[in-house]
């Protein structure tokens, strides 16, 4: 499987580390309930089809990416950089969010 890193270009999946479901947002600790935390830390869907997930290009540019991947075909719809540098590297494929 190749992941289209917005900075490095398409690279073999072996250069990346899976970072889990990217639709989960860390709760605000000032207001979050125990249920919110439980959901963030433990609850994961296991969708058949489109899945938005984090991948870390640890053996490359070390950027964290959000990748939209089909869990059946492994086809990647799009990839983008997460964080302050999101705008600095071109989004790959279709919008992830």
């Amino acid at each position: 499987m190749l992941i289209p890193c917005p900075h490095c270009g398409p690279r073999d999946v072996a250069e990346f580390t899976y970072g889990g479901d990217a639709t989960k947002e860390r709760p605000n600790p000032d207001s979050a309930t125990a249920e919110d935390w439980c959901d963030y830390v433990f609850h994961r869907d296991n969708p058949r089809g489109r899945h938005v997930e984090y991948w870390h290009h640890g053996q490359g540019c070390r950027l964290w990416l959000k990748v939209a991947r089909d869990t059946v075909t492994h086809k990647i719809e799009g990839a983008e950089v997460v964080g302050p540098w999101a705008a600095a590297a071109p989004k790959q494929g279709r919008d992830v969010a």
Binding site: M1, G19, A34, W37, V41, F42, G58
Partner: protein
Amino acid sequence: MSGYRLSSGGQIDRARPLSFAFDGKRYQGYAGDTLASALLANGVDLFGRSFKYHRPRGLFSAGVEEPNALVTLRSGARAEPNTRATVVELYDGLEASSQNRWPSLAFDVMAMNQLAGPLFSAGFYYKTFMGPTRKAWMLYEYFIRKAAGLGAGTLLPDPDRYEEMNAFCDVLVVGAGPAGLMAATAAASSGARVILADEQSALGGNLRGSASAQENLAGLAALDNVTLLARTTVYGYYDDNTLGAVERVADHVAAPAEGQPRERHWTIRAKQVVLATGAIERPIIFGDNDKPGVMLADAGRLYVERHGVAPGRRVAVFANNDGAYRSVAALTTAGVAVSAIVDARREIGAEAQAIAAASGAELLLGQVVTRALGGQRLSGIEVAAFDPVQGARDGAQRQISADCLLVSGGWTPTIHLASQAGGPARWDDSLTAFLPGEASQPWRAAGACQGTLDSAACFAEGAQAGAEAARACGLSPNPVSLPGAKTEPLADVPLPVWDARPPHGKGKAFVDLQHDVTASDISLAHREGFRSVEHLKRYTTLGMATDQGKTSNVTGLALMARERKLSIPEVGTTRFRPPYTPVSLGALAGQARGSHFRPTRRTAMHDWHVENGAEMQAAGLWLRPRIYAQGSETVEQAYSREARQVRASVGMVDVSTLGKIDVQGLDAAEFLNRVYSNGFLKLPEGKARYGLMLREDGFLWDDGTTWRLSETQFLMTTTTANAAPVLSQLEFLLAAVWPELKVAVTSVTEQWAGMAVSGPKSREVLASVLDDLDMSNEALPFMGVRKGHLNGLPVLVARLSFSGELAYEVYCGAHHGEAVWSRILEAGKPFGMIPYGVEALGTLRIEKGHVAGPELDGRTTAEDLGLAGMTSRKKHYIGSSMLKREGLTDPARLKLVGFVSADGGKIRAGAHLVAANDTSSPPRSLGHITSTTYSPALEKYIALGLLEDGPERVGEKLVATYPLKNIDVDVEVVSSHFFDPEGSRMHV
């Protein structure tokens, strides 16, 4: 003795004779021979014994599909079992031996297995060894495996090298026959980067050796944008148009040349793929169809045309299509006698008739071969009339003498790769064959693999596929001229005949020759209810041998369809999986073996450690000194001496492997304060602090000291094991959780060599070597960090202690590590300073009750380890919210305490703690031991462990039990601070 060498012809070099041995007997062949063709030329027709019944077997094919002629190639460490003699290229001095026979190939004791035929029928293993008789398997497995099997591998290490190669191209063309050659030519004309790979020893496929192919290949070879790979099997088609291939670089010679790999694994990433993988001929089933001398028709042609070898002296042909007539023509041209042509069709075309007439053979139309005759080899055939609806008729069989029978049941397109990267195969009723399904990746098929058997049409299709592939890459191909484009008059459309046996035919009729699966096994599977094609395959093992049923799958499906009274596509087919042909494990491992299996990480002082007697041990990828044994010291004696000397005077240990992360930025302190469970905002410059990191779920994750080098710069240390995960987590937090923080994190693990100088004399030693640092307690207090110089080299000195002694960590640029290490040891000489290893490091920390990896096992909380005071209540940090969960605050959780051996016995890590008077079996576990050591300071075996109500049990006697080894040690529960609990020694 049926085969022989023709006096002329073939693509062999008669001026280059080669000597070789099979089963110890010497033979001669020529350059250009395969092992199979050379043995056939020498009249050898017995190549092996079959898998279950040990029946004699000969050559069945001339290619990768060979089910019978499996031999062990070479001997000793280079012995390779189960190679197909049909693809082994002959070289001078080649040695091969037959397999699965005992004591000899000609006389095999196990051949009596066939007398017990019903015993080994489909499902034999399930029926015999499942259920109440399962235990019998244990008893008989050895004998059954010995009786039924393939060749034996060698246990010696492979002396040869294997390599990997990464390749990228616009167009990969798999198969270099007529279609593939044209596809590569057309694609290359656009300037596309083209790779053309073929499994055979030379490119060209059916055109091999022809003038037009030679010219075409020479033209391609001259292009910079084309890579030609002969002897390269593309075996697997993976995601994102990535294909796996194995190039047999030096498999066709006795041993690779210096530096040369034996095989090279190619990972090919192609934008577009053209599959021109050809087709494999299939047989027709009849009684005793496995007799040596029975061979696929096209194989007979190849032995004549390619190798100049006649497959027999009296050849009969059995066909249901025109393809076999090409073989007849080739044999006639070479002067090989064809005695009879048996064709199931009642009518054949004019061209076929002309070929038959020219051969002088008797032409028997509307008839089939019902049985092969002979003992260890073919001596004749039985022929009977055939009706397309009723099949062969019983009785009135005629016998014809023959020493070779060439059989053609039509062609099976080689759709393995297409199937791996596409939808279900499509059934073609006129070809009675499965064709490639819909592509799920960017490939297109051309030529025989999609049912086009005519050469002229293959040329055209190949050229078109190559041009389309180039266009799909955004390139413009030029038109290519097609060689010798005349349509062949022979039609390959077969009459569907699968099983030519009459209703009461004699002899075993084999479908899968390699796995000894017969037509009656398939009937039996059907009677027993195994009707799905997937069940049929598993129950009978049809198509599951090393040849993956290349010559048997479709026939097997046809027979099942007959049983179920369905059409073949209704029965369905199984999906092919990689590899297309067997791949050696060496090729898959590549260079990743021996010292390259995993890379090794060495500290700057590595050479010094080794030169000074250190016994090195792995810590992840790192190598660390375990002990520096003197004389005949045991490990325990060595680390005890080292630890004793640290407490008595001074020692030094290499701590370079700790993870080191540079944390910089305006928000660096705020960031650390959110990452660590204890406070970091108020850490002053020039000070270090021990910090705890939790996971989001509240459990402990990592610990280490972090040093504030300036207002905005920190040097974080992590455990050796978590260096990489901690950095990734920090990067994640800065990207996904707190993108507003201005912080940059960088691994500087490799930048700094680190050494811990510990012991009451450490201050004196360092004071004597540091150029510019005041080492007094006032100038460099506990947890103080200073920048200084040692012999002019910049160093960082931090006053930290994990041993309970006065101690410092000295960090310097890694290239200076060895110089600084040596200089400090030299300065320590007057004090008897010693280097110590990680064993003594562990001893010293356990004596102080400091936790490490064995206690931070992912199941413990800060409170469990007595570190509750380090979890701030005044702030949020990673893990703080989940830390309050009931399960993590339960007072019944196991707590850290110390143990001393009460009976002098050595306590084992992992031992369970049980009450001394607990007689239940097994006794109830109250906790377990995590870290153990002999304590030279206490002169006792001591341990850390996790215990129910731990602190309340101090003073109690328990048993540390290790039932696996039957070891029980009486222990006393004590405080985990074994040594100098007041900490007076390190605050001097």
